[in-house]
Amino acid sequence: MTNVSVTVNGQVREADVEPRTLLVYFLREHLGLTGTNVGCDTSTCGSCTVLVDGESVKSCTMLTAQADGREVSTIESMADGDTLHPIQDAFHRNHGLQCGYCTPGMVMAAASYLKENPAPTEEEVREALEGNLCRCTGYQNIVKSILDAAGSMSGART
């Protein structure tokens, strides 16, 4: 067993985990944060995307031990009480989700990307989402949601 201390959604979480435990299973099964989904075995689908030290990471590609001492944010940290994060709100207003399974990963990937590029073009958003698969929406309204969120977030900042 390996002892880890990871700050998850602002709270320090210490645990003994098997060395092979992936970060996504630490979040889901040790901490009960089941908002982060698993969709593949090959780090392809991006459903498990979380933020590690502010940057998007597929949490099935990272061992829990690698997250030791770092800050992890999951979908559960995005809304402020009943108030959705502007990205979540944009997904709602633009029908950017259907079954919802890829959605937490999409929202987290978008959060990381919009920090890097607060005013992207449609083409840039599509390229930024290359690591996240959706089978329901054809991406059209996901792209629209992220562009909309970029607008409302930059508006909020000024």
Binding site: I75, C99, L133, R135, G138
Partner: protein, 789 residues
Amino acid sequence: MVATENYVGSPVLRKEDAKLLTGQATYVDNQTMAGMAWMSLVRPPHVHATIDSIDTSAAASMPGVVAVYTAADLEDAFPSSLPMVWPITEDIKIPTHWPLTKDKIRFAGDAVAVVLAETREQAEDAAEAVTVSATDLPVVNDLEEAAKDEVVLHEDLGTNVVVHWSHGGGGDQSVFDSAPVILQERYAQPRLIPNAIETRGCLAYGIPAAGEFTLVTASQIPHIARVGLSIATGIPQSKLRIIAPDVGGGFGSKLNVYAEEALALAIARKTGRPVKWIETRQENYLATIHGRGVLHDCTLAGTDDGDILGMKFVELADMGAYFQLLTPGIPELGAWVYMGPYDTKAYWYEFRGIMTNATPTDAYRGAGRPEATFVIERLVDAYARKIGMDPAEVRRKNFLPPSEEAFGSIMGLSIDSANYEPTFDKALELAEYDQLRKEQQARRDRGDVKQLGIGLSSYIEMCGLAPSEILGALRYVAGGWDAAEVECRPDGKVVVRTGTSPHGQGHETSWSQIVADGLGVTPDDVEVLHGDTSVSRLGMDTYGSRSASVGAEAVARALEKVRDKARTIAAHELEVSEDDLEWADGAFRVSGAPDKARTIPELAASAWHAHSLPKDMEPMLEGTAVWDPPNFTWPGGTHVCVVEVDTETGKTDILKYVAVDDCGNVINPMIVEGQVHGGVAQGVAEALYEEAIYDESGNLTTSSMTQYLVPTAVEIPPITQDRTVTPSTTNSLGVKGIGEAGTIASPPAVVNAVIDAVSHLGVKHIDKPASPERVWRAIQDAKTEGGAA
């Protein structure tokens, strides 16, 4: 509160979103129970083999292992094999399909044993420690090879050709010999993997002493699964509850009764412990159904000037190694649309179902209708090319005449309503078709490296499964009705229980809109419950674009019963005759004295406390309806795809995609548009990227998401959309269905566009997926043939 808005027809934002956006969904893998153990299946690395022995001893002694079972250990657990509910002919040969195979492995993915352990990891480790000794047999995956029966999968059946179904034909068959133009083409369509982003999974638990069990399962069909799993496990339907929680996409892949569901229930019964199984993606590619996998010989009979006289299709369909729930019926679902929207004078369709050493096929989004639409629309393009007409002109010339009423058709069923030309015109206009043809000619004249292609696809669908009487005539064992209950609570809120089982389609929102309009409340006042056989007791679930036209119609009919009862109570309380009441501004009002009124929430309270109801009236304001549609619904439309093909590399870029659909009346345009986006994306994937490939030894080489190319946001184009509205005559809502339209329409639109871009170079056909390599080779082959000629 009293609302007077018309919610139906408005883009009401979804009620489903909040929990999905915040990570509070109830997907099965998010559920856990005290005492729960994990199940893992042993799928040996053989494709076709006789099992000599299975050694479970090493696995059984590993840490955390509770039990290891082979088929022999579970002999008593399954009184019947897994159900197949569509024996489409009298002489169909049905392979026996046990949850664990007994003496033979017939495809990569056939499970021989199951491990139960304390943790997910322990179960997986122990499954790998089970050793199977097996003698390999020759493998057959090619349809025509398999049909020769040199290698037979199920010896007791004596053949791989397990079913032959013929439509029987319509019209004057002599045109196939005598028409001025007779075109014969052969089109192959590869197997596809559905790829719901949530894999399958289930959690079984119960009270063995009481014989009661519950299965939480990522399923589109809790109600049908209850019947099927009862048959397989022997648990009476009265003691079996199925719950479909939030489900992460289906596309037909969760429209089934699977071995793992039966195993989880049987093992929960045997051990008394909650049993959880979550499919890995690799298992999903091997053990969850595939779609398509068909080969068509096609004949079109026509005149020299573009009149289609006859369409004939003879199909071989890949069934895979076993029948799943609906396997042999899938081609037949296409059997009724092989004339497309065209007024052909003669019709023929037949198919043979062939067993192969591969994953069973079953319903994948569109189920039979995309396969049919692809060959029709390829054939119409080939015909246009042969007679030197514009493919748009040929289509326009042959559309069935418009009708607001239901009308008989050459294939024998009645079409609910039709008006194809306005849809077609709109699509061509949005695509700027004439302009594109000029641009295409200019590029051809210049000999540009990047050539322009314009692809058309006009389609019809058969949706709204289904009139039970017709299903019976087609030998389907169940009915096609659906059910709803509308219950008005005394606090003014409304509970709706629907028999449909959404997994992304937004029924909670759309059904709320209908109820809100009918009862003068808001959609937020309405709670739509679904997906639990103990909550929404009656239903036939969600597939085949049926939910609105059958399930929502049941809601509308239950709503009418509620309104009728409410009107009676209102008249009683207001001391007027029912005829003196009118429905206005969300209340029953006395004609001429609109202030004398009762709202539904007020009447719901009256019906609940029941202090002063009309004589002999039962308390509670509620209504139930079970609705069996009198006909299918028949949506239609035209999609146009514009591509640029690099003639040096074979690479295709989609420049524009236009979808104009007619799905009848629309409850929520935002949701309808979203359904088309996703459907088109899956069809674009089918046309350009996706294909399940088996090697010569029968191993699936596209066995993960890194090899099977599910498109990303980069590959999928933005879609330009519009609609026309021809209300259905099958239901009072006038809705037809939209869930599969995009997947049905788009593959031929895209492939026709690719071929159109290089047709002037002599290319006549390119199989799906039209990958750069296939396109490049087609260009090279055409050059060689052109040079030789």
